[in-house]
Subunit: 220 residues, 2 copies
DNA sequence: GCCATTTAATGAATGTAATTTATTTGGCTG
DNA sequence: CAGCCAAATAAATTACATTCATTAAATGGC
């Protein structure tokens, strides 16, 4: 029961911002690598250069921490995307770009994508999360594009824009699951083309392909 | 330290099949209600009328148990579906039925659906799972229908059947997430119609609405 | 019907990981 | 330079899954 007075514990004190940033970076790394369940606070702490319990001074709990990580990722993606879109002409091209961008994001960050798809979205609290709000912002460009395309007469007007959104993001997700599990790769460009084409043209054999030489311009 | 000889422990011995069935039923109930993480072996054991440790005589571990539960569910769905399909004429109608059936399955078993979507599919081992094989069997009817439709000239032949499959199941899944989280309901019939229509007709304004019998509004 | 063997079932032990709490430490202020 | 406060720590707590040694029921040979 004699306590070892000799062993002074080493304490490394840092400014709040620095610590928080260090923890976030460590958490990003570990969550990306291991997913949510298999990520341990102790590994994050070790990587950030402190002790498990100390994480809780900066973040409420493991979930809060992972949410902060995902938030940062979303913010980056949204601003990145907003920089590109204005330069693209025509609803179909814009749609193609949104599809391309999402495929690309998944390919760049499979670990974080998995986290969102399987850890957050199913959560009954998801709707109250900031991730939900960010995701809505992120996906709303598709519904916006669709509405614009309808106004311009480029798209038929009797389709629900949110159904189109679900179709696009759902299709992409299903298409990329094998990759997300680490089973090989996929081609962003080809996939984007294929989805855009199927979505716009539809599956039916065109009833009257002869009559329309100019697919874009409407007549009279 | 005196051990209580007086307290004889009560043991309820049952035939293997009965025990296994009891455990499976209890597990079905608990997993449906609580999902995977929040389901505890002790709750399942209690409901099945035995003690935690005993579960492990019948199932390797928690994961093995949940897999058995999901397997049973899939087998039921597949046979149920195979009973209907032959009676339907035309690729488009068959597709509509597959879509309808999946929507219906999700609506009947939101808890189990969530389990598959967020617990199994992301698992790196998923491909080696029997669930994977069953899911493949379950979804393959869509690719089959699409191929048939192409052969019959009802569908265009330059589309990947598996892309259509991903589009359908992905779209359905995205469309039902809010419901799966317990946020309200959805209409199976209407949704099935909307998806079928969008998938077959496509988003583009028909270049030549005059030639076909006026789907929405005709001008002039 | 009776003992020996087999196997179901138990209850306690083990291990791991998140979270909480009581203590200690370092830097800053008056 | 003493004392305070927030930052860090280490140890305690909790909640489960999983393992294991022990007990009890069933069964088969006599």
């Amino acid at each position: 029961m004699a306590r070892p007075r000799t062993k002074k514990r080493i304490v490394n004190r840092l400014p709040r911002e620095r610590r928080e940033a260090d923890i976030l970076e460590a958490a990003l790394h570990v969550f990306r690598l291991r997913g949510y369940e298999n990520a341990s606070i102790s590994e994050i702490a070790e990587r950030a250069g402190l002790v498990e319990g100390s994480i809780y001074r900066y973040f409420q709990n493991k979930r809060d921490l992972v949410i902060k990580v995902i938030e940062q990722w979303y913010l980056g993606m949204i601003s990145e995307d907003e920089a590109w879109l204005p330069g693209i002409e025509g609803a179909r091209n814009k749609l193609r770009h949104a599809i391309w961008h999402h495929l690309n994001a998944i390919r760049q960050e499979p670990g974080l994508s998995r986290l969102v798809f399987s850890e957050f979205r199913p959560d009954p609290e998801y709707r109250q999360t900031t991730i939900f709000a960010l995701n809505r912002r992120y996906t709303s460009r598709v519904t916006d594009i669709v509405r614009e395309g309808m106004q311009a007469g480029e798209f038929r007007a009797d389709v629900s824009p949110s159904l189109v959104r679900n179709l696009i993001y759902g299709c992409i997700e299903h298409h990329t699951w094998a990759f997300l599990r680490g089973e090989g790769d996929f081609d962003v460009e080809r996939t984007a083309d294929a989805i855009t084409n199927l979505l716009c043209q539809g599956l039916d054999q065109r009833p009257n392909p002869v009559a329309s030489p100019a697919p874009r311009k409407k007549r009279l």
